[in-house]
Amino acid sequence: MTFIDFLNLLIAAILLAGIYAVMSVGMTVIYGVMKIVNLAHAGFMMMGAYFAYELYQRLHLDPILAALLAFPFFFLVGIAVHWLLVRWLPHSDRPTLQSLLLMFGIWLVLQNIGYLIWGNTDRSILTPRTLALVQLGPITISSLRLVVFVAAVGCMVVLEIALSRTWFGRSVRALIQNRYAGRIAGIDVEKTARLTFGMGIAFAGVAGALLATLYSFDPDFGRPFLLRAFVIIVLGGLESVSGVALGALVLALVETFSILFVPAEYQPAISFGMLVVVLVVLPGGIASLWAKRRRLA
């Protein structure tokens, strides 16, 4: 492998990490505030993909623009789902199997609504931008991936600002740290949970719309990405937004560079294998490595 190859792979990995971060961060905020493992995330990502597809087919709307529109749309969808179903779950400070199964049921319903409407043929969104390339000396970059990366980083920056500068963000961070203390401090837990759920689903929709520009999709679209999102949020320590960015980068690097060692047909097994290994070996995420060392020192 030459240095140029290495550089190409590295850039590809970083571009991939951007979209990975957006697709995982929604799960992280929902988990952090509500302690719900959102399996339905996959279903909402799939819906986001078809949202962009329909807007492009019917109104010839640019998919990147559709991804931006997906945010308010799926925010409202998320709030509706929370109001209809999720809020009836018993409150718990640990993830419960009940909530896991409920989210799984919602995923099943979404997925099969998808099959009812769009059938099981693969769809894709092809724009003039899809195959365009940017040449930077010896390095070749897909311009679409670059655009998606920029959009993804934009999303993360907006989220970071929302979490650090607004009252809502402050209550989200408080509830992630400690629910009881948050409640004592006068935070409306129910309202924050509702908004957080809406935001998590909104990010799923945006991620789905962005992913739809890169890959072909069918109603089972979200599943492999769901597992990757799990790996990422576990790597990131489950509850931190900056951890998600780190986890996304690690997974993207591992996936991209494993092409050199693992035959292509076994490629999908990497994230699944990694999921199990990471859960068992590093349940506290990457940050726990430092924490452990600090404790030892």
């Binding site: 179903l85 779950l89 199964l101 409920l102 099943l108 099969n112 076994y266 999908p268 097994a269 068992v280």
Partner: protein, 341 residues
């Protein structure tokens, strides 16, 4: 309490012990009733599903460890039996081997994943089952993604398949019953309620989970093998599919998680509904089950069995009120007071 007041409940208890045997007898005699091949097939498939449902229920229902990975055992069982039967081994021996291999796999999977708890275990099992499917899709011995056709050097007799599956389902019920009423089963229930408390009481949760995982996997693997012999053609995207794991999980949850009859009921309902819906509306099938799952989680955690139980009790109360027992009601009241006094 007098005998008069006890009589109905004693009768009920006797009926409860007799009913399974009666059911078994009826099912054993069924093929001689001259039913069509289609009906027999429906029963066969239902027995296979009931077995997997009971298997999952041992781990998910009794022990509270929800797994999304039972397709691994189902698929491994199917391929083990298929490869052995294809090489001329006695089918029933191959089913046993299928169960054993699935149990072995369950230990290998359980050793790392049972270090995780609750939802983390559930998520890890998704990873395990997806990884297994990818590997099986590319292995040479299984024929890869194009599937595996089983050549059995014996004439096909549907009734034989029927009895194999019936025997297997009966075995699954018996195993569930034995586990439920043993000290081991009590340990499992303790783990479900509170793992730390169970550990304090001298139950080793890790070992208990590994053991029940193996039993559950063995039943599921056998079911896979029995199904493979009947289907005569299997492929990784079928038996190892995430969908298969989903089916195996949905049946006991919808039927009534943690109870034997709930799991059986779930398998039966699933088998019949699948038969009616899948052929015509495959999407509606899972749409229905997804909605049912949501309803059951939010409204009736004990599933269809719990719902039926409630209905039954309400019905009995109604018949009492409406004077079926009106003659003895006053006497009951008096006797109860006497008994208390």
């Amino acid at each position: 309490m007098s005998t008069a007041a006890l009589a109905p409940s004693r009768l009920e208890a006797r009926a409860k012990t007799l009913l399974p045997w009666l059911l078994l007898a009826v099912l054993a005699l069924l093929p001689s009733a001259g039913l069509g091949a289609n009906i027999i097939r429906l029963f066969f498939i239902t027995f296979v599903w009931v077995t997997t449902s009971l298997g999952w229920n041992l781990l998910g229902g009794f022990t509270g460890q929800v797994s999304f990975g039972f397709a691994v055992f189902y698929g491994l069982g199917a391929y083990t039996a298929a490869l052995m039967i294809d090489r001329g081994v006695n089918p029933h021996l191959s089913f046993l081997a299928a169960g054993l291999l699935a149990a072995l796999a369950s230990v290998l999977i359980g050793l790392p994943t049972f270090r995780l708890r609750g939802p983390y275990f559930a998520i890890a099992t998704i990873g395990v089952s997806e990884a297994t499917r990818v590997i099986m899709n590319n292995l040479a011995i299984t024929g890869g993604a194009s599937g595996f056709r089983i050549m059995e050097h014996r004439p096909f007799r549907q009734v034989e398949h029927y009895y194999t599956a019936l025997g297997m389902a009966a075995l699954a019920v018996a195993v569930s019953f034995l586990v439920m009423h043993s000290k081991f089963g009590m340990g499992l229930r303790a783990i479900k309620q509170d793992e730390d408390a169970a550990a304090d009481l001298g139950v080793n949760p890790y070992a208990y989970k590994l053991a029940i995982h193996a039993v559950a996997a063995a039943l599921t693997g056998m079911a896979g093998g029995v199904f493979a012999r009947y289907a005569a053609f299997i492929y990784p995207q079928g038996v190892f599919a995430f969908q298969t794991s989903v089916y195996i999980l949905l049946m006991p949850v919808i039927g009534g998680i943690g109870t034997i009859w709930g799991a059986v009921l779930g398998g039966v309902v699933f088998g019949i509904v699948e038969e009616q819906l899948v052929a015509n509306f495959p999407e509606l099938h899972l749409l229905l089950y997804g909605s049912l799952l949501i309803l059951i989680i939010l409204a009736e955690p004990d599933g269809i069995a719990g719902l039926l139980g409630k209905l039954f009790r309400r019905l009995r109360r109604l018949t009492r009120k409406n004077g079926v027992h009106s003659g003895s009601r006053k006497a009951d009241e008096v006797l109860r007071r006497v008994g208390r006094g």
